[in-house]
């Protein structure tokens, strides 16, 4: 299964290069998913299906979904809907899809024709992994918890918004505008281009 290994490695490298050269975060994330999937196929090809599944579940699944949610939440606004339509052209998703399709084909070949254990190695049960993780390496696991805490506290501090104290006139202005929006959304949309930016 050396060919599968080389093809997936190539895909992983191409996809990762695309990640760091894209300008739009969402486009980069699409390629990042492909990159993770390529790594998963590499694991599958050397006979480690459990790690391959973990790679998909943890990285391509959980982490990327978080990234995408955050990116989507950052892009709130009326203009973004139009912008998104412009961005969602075939040239954007064609690249990742082709790469993903190659990976899928490889996986199908692996699952149907691949021999069971291509590498001569000892098989470690999942149970033994978890027992050693919660046995002798328990302190490392707890320290990893502190590592996450450091990341979260740091991100929470740097991402925190400063409290804005508006002058009362500005606050009233805001309220008026909000009421106006609630009452008559249609006129707002039709006058989208002329409407001045609401005072933040």
């Amino acid at each position: 299964m050396a060919t599968v290994f080389y093809i997936s490695s190539l895909i992983a490298i191409i996809a990762t290069i695309m990640v760091i050269t894209r300008h739009q975060p969402i486009h980069a994330l699409l390629y990042l998913v492909v990159s993770f999937m390529a790594v998963a196929v590499i694991f599958l090809s050397v006979g480690a299906p459990f790690i391959a599944a973990l790679e998909i579940i943890v990285y391509a699944g959980a982490i990327i979904v978080l990234f995408i949610f955050v990116t989507m939440m950052l892009n709130l606004g009326r203009e973004t809907a139009v912008q998104e339509k412009q961005w969602l052209q075939p040239k954007v998703w064609a690249g990742p899809s082709v790469l993903a399709f190659v990976l899928l084909a490889q996986m199908v070949i692996l699952l149907t024709k691949g021999n069971a254990a291509p590498m001569n190695m000892q098989i470690v049960e999942i149970k033994r992994v978890s027992v050693s993780l919660y046995g002798e390496y328990i302190l490392a696991l707890e320290l990893a918890g502190f590592l996450l805490m450091a990341g979260i506290v740091g991100a929470a501090h740097i991402g925190k918004h400063k409290k804005k104290h508006l002058h009362r006139f500005l606050q009233e202005d805001n309220n008026v505008e909000e009421q106006f929006q609630k009452r008559d959304p249609v006129t707002i949309i039709s006058e989208e281009k002329e409407a001045p930016e609401p005072v933040a």
Partner: protein, 474 residues
Amino acid sequence: MTPLQLTALLPYILLAAASIVVILLIAFKASHTVIQVVGFLLMCGVAVSLFAVKELLPVSILPLFEIDGFALLFTGLIIFCVLVVGLFSFIYFEEREENPKEYYILLFLSTLGAATMTISRHFISLFIGLEILSVSLYALIAYLRTRNNAVEAGMKYLVLAALSSAFLLFGMALIYMETGSMEFSAIAQKLGASSALFITGIGLMVVAIGFKLALVPFHFWAADVYQGAPSPVTSFIATVSKIGVFAVLLRFAQTIHLQSYPLAYFIFAAIAIISMIAGNLLALQQQNIKRLLAYSSISHFGYLLVAFLPGNAGSNEAVFFYLAAYSLTILSAFGIITLLSNRQQDADHPDFYRGLFWRNPLMATVLTAAMLSLAGIPLTAGFMGKFIVLTTGVRQGLWLPVLVLVVTSVFGLYYYLRIISLLFAEAPAAGPKEKTLHPFFYTATYTALIVLVLLLVWIGVFPSGVIEGIKAFL
């Protein structure tokens, strides 16, 4: 885990608990003052527990940790530095940041990372310790997020530290591939003649360690980060983070006899020599005092590597003594920078120091003592540190590094003395005096500075007591 092992871990458990205690205090809306005082007491508790567990040692917690006198000594130095840095932080952040409390969580977490490295005997604990340290430092450097250069410095550190971690992991993977183990002692056993894979692995790990210690040619971040980070955080980077990394480097090198591999030895000797030369030359033209201290720290860690090269018990003593002297010195220098900083910017411009002696003789005296110690003038700790490093080098016959050390120290004198001459220059018209908001903490900070300087002189004049103390632990 046996009760004995748990007891031996007590200082580290306390340290980890400190960050959680601070989180709880924030949740219950404790004031900045309360958090500062509780944090201080907790760190004192850690220091006391270090003495309490001293009798039990050495205890090893297989496979990750080894708690011995060596680890306690380095952890003790780290805790001492954090006590001082924490004290400086209060005034600094109280005035500048509307949200100074999370700072202490991050401070204690990064201390935990550095302390974990001192007891590591395994690549996994080394890496996790290093990552806890770096991840907390990213946020600490960019803590004043309204200042552009702080965010820039944090970003630079983030990218470079992440890259260096990748190098470290790849190096570890190569060594694991060669020896089939990640424990230092097991690596030492399974390692026969020096193989290409092993040396490549060591070379890649040197990149990461060189980055953390800001050794040439991995030093490019140092000046920008030192300048951009808040002054207390800069002093933390200059002391705690480097002590932790150096401790683990020492333990690793000692266990696998790193210095007996000619190529590895050559790499470290070369890094030491170019760090000493480049650090001192780059500092010569530097006006900004924080950048100057960054370059000076590059050259000081070059000196430290000269003591690291022999790789025997004597070199451990020399390294620890030098690190302790350097930490005392740099902490007192950064203490002055912190006190002089105003709301808008840190006191890194030479104008802050022009004629300081005529305005505030106490601060000027402390800074003068610190600069003299950095330059290695007799009667200061810096001189004794350099002397011991030189003795270690000469005993081993390392003539080239020792010669470079002496010559570059002379260059170093120029820029340290330039700052001192600035302090005694013609005084400009005194600006309006700023109101001191927290008289108690100002007094505490001044007391800490005076104690630091007295320690500097005491170690410089009577080093034998300290050396005996170090020998008793090692």
